[in-house]
């Protein structure tokens, strides 16, 4: 039962290129609420599965069904899981099915959180901030700096499949140490940049000028003497607190801030700086 079903196909360079192409340009097209990236995972490796198991075999149907099950991870790391998976399937064929299913379910969560924090939050935050800062002055160069950075990320996404295929699960352990250090460093830069953004990108000031006797008191100027940019810092602090409340979503927070700002502006307390 085992010998005849152990596949003999070896993946070629062309296979890796095809998987990478499908992953980069197609992995999430089928995203849906029921099984999220399930069909995308199958689509990415379908030609290789056909070569490993052979068209029309019951093994192929079984493994295709395995790969359309629920799957969701970072689309910046998905081919690491694919690489580890194919190394197993190529060697063990359908006997490796349970191993593969377990490995996919076991790794997708941790890669999702690392991938989201680095590639969906930190990099866009840092480069988005630089791009937005230049854009505010009418300069589009920052946008292109960001695009160049994303192209570097694409190269990284392209390379990882081969590395994962060669090194298997051992890669995850060697990588996790490096990634932890990298994530820590990246969050430091992220926090630093948020501080910088608070100080530059919230252009609002006190407009309220109560009269002391007959002399109007310039509140903004008095505050500038204590600490410039105090008002933006207070606003961010306030919203940070607001977001920590129960039942608060980012969309609700945006609308609350919008309405409160319009009211305070109408009352003459704050104005665009």
């Amino acid at each position: 039962m085992t010998n005849s079903k152990t596949p003999t196909y070896k993946l070629t360079d062309q296979d890796f290129r095809q998987i990478n192409r499908r992953s980069l340009f197609g992995f999430q097209l089928g995203w849906n609420y029921e099984r999220m990236q399930g069909s995308g995972y199958l689509y990415t490796i379908l030609p290789q599965l056909r070569k490993i198991y052979g068209d029309g075999t019951p093994e192929l149907k079984k493994i295709m069904k395995t790969h359309t099950q629920f799957f969701n991870t970072s689309n910046f790391f998905n081919t690491i899981i694919t690489g580890i998976d194919l190394a197993v399937e190529e060697k063990e064929g359908i006997n490796g099915e349970e191993t593969v299913a377990g490995m996919k379910a076991g790794l997708m969560g941790s890669f999702a959180s690392i991938g989201d924090s680095i590639f969906a939050a930190l990099i866009p935050a840092i480069f988005g901030a630089i791009a937005a800062n230049m854009a505010e002055k009418g300069n589009p160069i920052g946008v292109f700096i960001w695009i160049v950075a994303q192209i570097a990320v694409m190269v990284f996404r392209w390379k990882q499949l081969r590395v994962a295929y060669n090194e298997g699960v051992a890669l995850v352990t060697t990588m996790s140490h490096r990634l932890a250090a990298l994530t820590n460093a990246a969050t430091i830069m992220g926090v630093f940049m948020v501080g910088a953004l608070v100080a530059t990108m919230i252009n609002v000031k006190f407009a309220w000028a109560p009269k002391v006797g007959t002399v109007p008191l310039d509140i903004q100027n008095s505050l500038d003497m204590i600490l410039p940019k105090l008002l933006p810092a207070l606003i961010v602090g306030g919203i940070y607190w607001l977001l920590g409340r129960k039942h608060m979503t980012s969309t609700r927070a945006i609308f609350i801030v919008l309405i409160v700002s319009v009211l305070l502006s109408a009352l003459g307390l704050i104005a665009k700086g």
Binding site: L24, N32, G38, T68, I188, V194, L197, K272
Partner: protein, 301 residues
């Protein structure tokens, strides 16, 4: 008025940007790029960049976490930019008056797209049963349609039919309801604070609060100095004809480099701290980790 070719180009971009974001993630699906493109198409790049920048900062911390639907800042930026330029609404007011409401309405079409794709997932199951490989691929690629249309239809319709309404709105906001127009502009200036606060919730602020203070203080001091020098320069140029030097504003890239240096120091400290016994520690932890993994797969290793 917005010309038909402008509507066509912007509608196409609205479809492209969501596919870009799902796939290659090239930053051409960012609000700031959306503003740039729309500004170019509409003939006022600066207004586009301004609106794009404001929306970029507002959604700075809102990543794609676990596939949850989130505010669609790109479609909002396209509409706000196009209408701001065509109707003469102030860019800052357009952010609050158009981009934010549009963004939140578009969450619904996003949910619709993700639900529609469930239908294709079931079609793929059928194709798997029939060994129909072309069918699997066809129904998978078809998933691009709900995604793209969920952006193209609302953006195209709004651009084609929303112009009159927005022009009237812009007129009112600039005249009889000026208090509201100013208020919306102020709100547009405050909104980036939401993006920063969301990002802070996501980052380990308590652990790294010192860097938050550093980033804020460095930038606050430098931007005050640079701002005052610029003000001095323009004032002087207005008074003295011979004064032609112009001063640039603070470079955010320079500030980012300072932040990068702090991050690099921290990275070196963590890696050298444990990599002193580098190889040993590495192999030790990997042995431990394979033990943990052992419950999932013991035959492969």
């Amino acid at each position: 008025m917005i010309a038909w070719w402008q509507i066509a180009l912007l509608t196409l971009y609205a479809g492209y940007q969501i596919l870009d974001e799902l796939q290659i993630y090239s930053a051409m699906s960012s609000p700031v790029f959306a503003g740039f493109v729309t500004g170019l198409v509409m003939g006022d790049m600066k207004a586009g960049l301004l609106i794009g920048a404001a929306m970029q900062l507002t959604v700075l911390g809102v990543g794609t976490f676990g596939g949850a639907s989130r505010i669609d800042a790109n479609s909002g930026t396209i509409l706000a930019t196009a209408f701001s330029i065509s109707s003469g609404m102030k860019p800052a007011a357009a952010v609050a008056a158009i981009a934010v409401p549009v963004d939140s309405i578009m969450i619904q079409t996003d949910i619709l797209a993700r639900s529609t794709n469930t239908f294709f997932a079931h079609k793929i199951d059928k194709m798997v049963d029939q060994y129909n490989y072309k069918g699997i691929e066809r129904y998978f690629i078809a998933g691009a349609l709900p995604w793209a249309l969920s952006r193209m239809i609302p953006v195209g319709l709004a651009l084609a039919f929303g112009g009159g309404f927005v022009t009237n709105l812009a007129k009112i906001l600039n005249t009889s309801w000026k208090w509201l127009g100013d208020g919306l502009a102020t709100a547009g200036a405050v909104l980036p604070a939401v993006g920063f606060a969301i990002l802070l919730h996501y980052l380990p602020v308590k652990k790294h609060f010192a860097y938050l203070i550093l980033g804020f203080t460095f930038t606050m001091l430098f931007s005050t100095v640079f701002g005052n020098v610029q003000l001095l320069g323009t004032t002087l140029a207005g008074v003295a004809k011979g004064f032609t030097t112009s001063f640039n504003g603070l470079s955010m890239l320079a500030i980012a480099l300072i932040g990068f240096a702090f991050a690099a120091i921290a990275y070196q400290q963590t890696t050298s701290g444990s990599a002193g016994g580098g190889a040993n520690a590495g192999s030790g932890s990997s042995a431990k980790a394979t033990d943990e993994k052992g419950e999932i797969e013991d035959d492969e290793l």
